[in-house]
């Protein structure tokens, strides 16, 4: 356990030592503010009933889970896995007295932690940005629901982390892995639109499952079914990913 903890700290230290990671965190922090002019335009300029300030954080989450957060996860996973395989720095990790089981687990835990940080930043920035909307008096109204939505949104994103790491294992450079992750994600999203009945078993279909947790009546049965599917997919991606990582020659 001690070595797993220390390996995870190492993965996080490497991740946050990159300037790119800090810039991307900054982008995630600023995007909720960048959405404000659009909302203001809708509400004031066009006279359309726009987004209530107490719903702003959830609206931002809906938008971010569609593409931005998956993209940030793909970038991190590809750097963390295929980037290290490609530049051979993985050797300096694998030749220490730490088993590959722990190294792979540490990479995934660091990726989950980074995703949680991203969600937290987007949440805080969205809540802060909501106070700049015209009906800012109600901004703090939906905070409980927003917390629930952001917490629920972590699960499909964690599954996406395991899938992105799995795909990245097949590449020796981060850009190749990133491109394929984006293409596969876009294809899964596209197929879900064209063949919705066939894509019910795709975890990508449920990136917005946090919406199920909102509103008066929570559909417990549906939530349980999707939870089971996401958990199952995560486990399959993790175990097969570990299998390939264990076989990897450095």
């Amino acid at each position: 356990m001690e070595l797993l903890k220390r390996s995870t700290v190492n993965e996080l230290a490497k991740l946050y030592a990159r300037k790119k990671t800090i810039w991307l965190l900054l982008v995630a922090l600023l995007l909720p503010f960048a959405g404000l002019p659009v909302v203001r335009q809708l509400q004031n300029g066009l006279g359309i009933a726009g987004i209530a300030s107490d719903q702003y954080a959830v609206t931002i989450l809906n938008a971010m889970t569609l593409f931005v957060l998956p993209l940030l996860i793909f970038m991190t996973a590809s750097d963390m896995v295929s980037g290290e395989i490609g530049d051979k720095t993985i050797r300096s990790v694998l030749s220490r007295p730490v088993s590959r089981t722990k190294i792979y687990a540490a990479k995934l835990i660091a990726l989950f932690a980074h995703t949680a940080v991203l969600l937290l930043l987007v949440f805080v920035a969205s809540e802060a940005a909501a106070f700049l909307l015209p009906d800012a008096r109600d901004a703090s109204g939906g905070i409980g629901e927003a917390i629930l939505a952001y917490a629920a949104a972590a699960l499909p994103l964690f599954v996406l982390c395991t899938a992105a790491a799995w795909v990245s294992l097949g590449f020796k450079n981060a850009s190749g892995a990133l491109t394929v992750c984006i293409l596969l994600y876009a294809a899964a999203k596209g197929l879900a639109l064209v063949f919705p009945s066939y894509m019910v078993f795709s975890p990508i279909t449920y990136m917005n499952w946090h919406q199920l947790w909102l509103g008066g009546a929570i559909p417990a049965g549906r939530i349980f079914a999707i939870f089971s599917l996401l958990l199952g997919c995560g486990m399959v991606f993790y175990t097969t990913g570990y299998y390939f990582f264990d076989k990897k020659e450095a």
Binding site: R6, A17, P97
Partner: protein, 256 residues
């Protein structure tokens, strides 16, 4: 000799898709040995060293480090082993100190002062806060050696450690190996193309060609028998092997 065996390789076979690899390689290194592993490019030196360090899996055979099978209990087997394979690969966006910190963190019992110790040993103290991306090839190689040393290893596996080093740094490295072997009883398994540089520090040698060990044994006894320098001995063995003069007896392992 009843010396403790530190590295025991038995019947190692690995075949890559391109047909290269190693075949039935066996060797044994005792505590305190400085084992020079020589051979032409592509002969299989790095493959043997990578398998010994657990970076590559063998098709057949077994590697034991300090009595523990690498494939069965990697953490225990590697606990006292430092590795530098081919070229030092460090995280270029981090400083030398931060790179060593990553390595040191994986040895819970290590004092923090150890990082400064190895920086001092490898002559990198002045550049410890510099990003590795700004390092020369020789500095990166020194950092690789520092990183291999950070966990206080009892066995160092160094594959071409003199890569990229200038003459002064090569001599420094030779002195460092000699000092670590004699004063701290660190065992070395090292390969190098600078055979003449290695002659004065190796007490045992192995020569590998086309994936097979063609000679192995105490350098002292091989030197006495041949009356040659290590470089001349190496060349004669490689040439005689190429000329097909080697018979089965040549593969007999001298374990004196």
């Amino acid at each position: 000799m009843s010396e403790e065996t530190v590295l025991d390789i038995e019947g190692l076979t690995k075949r890559y898709r391109n047909g290269r690899g190693v075949n039935e390689v066996s060797l044994r290194i005792a505590r305190g040995d400085v084992y020079g592993f020589f051979g032409p490019y592509g002969a299989g030196k790095s493959t043997v060293m990578k398998i010994a360090a657990g970076l590559v899996r063998a098709d057949r055979g077994r590697v034991r480090l300090f009595g523990t099978d690498v494939a069965e209990d990697y953490e225990r087997a590697m606990k006292h082993v430092g590795v530098l394979i081919e070229k030092a690969e460090a995280f270029e966006y981090m400083s030398a100190y931060k790179n060593l910190e990553l390595a040191a963190r994986l040895y819970p019992e290590l004092p923090r002062t150890r990082i400064d110790e190895v920086l001092e040993l490898t002559g990198l103290s002045a550049s410890k806060r510099e990003k590795v991306g700004h390092f020369s090839l020789g500095m990166k190689q020194r950092l690789g050696i520092a990183s291999a040393l950070v966990g206080r290893p009892e066995l160092l596996i160094l594959d071409e450690p003199t890569n990229g080093l200038d003459i002064e740094a090569t001599v420094d490295l030779r002195t460092l190996i000699f000092r670590l072997a004699s004063e701290e009883r660190i065992t070395f398994f090292l390969s190098s193309h600078l055979i003449s540089e290695m002659e004065s520090i190796c007490n045992r040698i192995g020569i590998i060609q086309d994936g097979r060990i063609i000679r192995e044994g105490s350098w002292q006894s091989l030197k006495q028998a041949s009356g040659q320098s290590l470089e001349s001995y190496y060349m004669s063995q490689i040439r005689s092997e190429k000329g097909g003069e080697t018979n089965g007896a040549a593969q007999a392992i001298d374990r004196q």
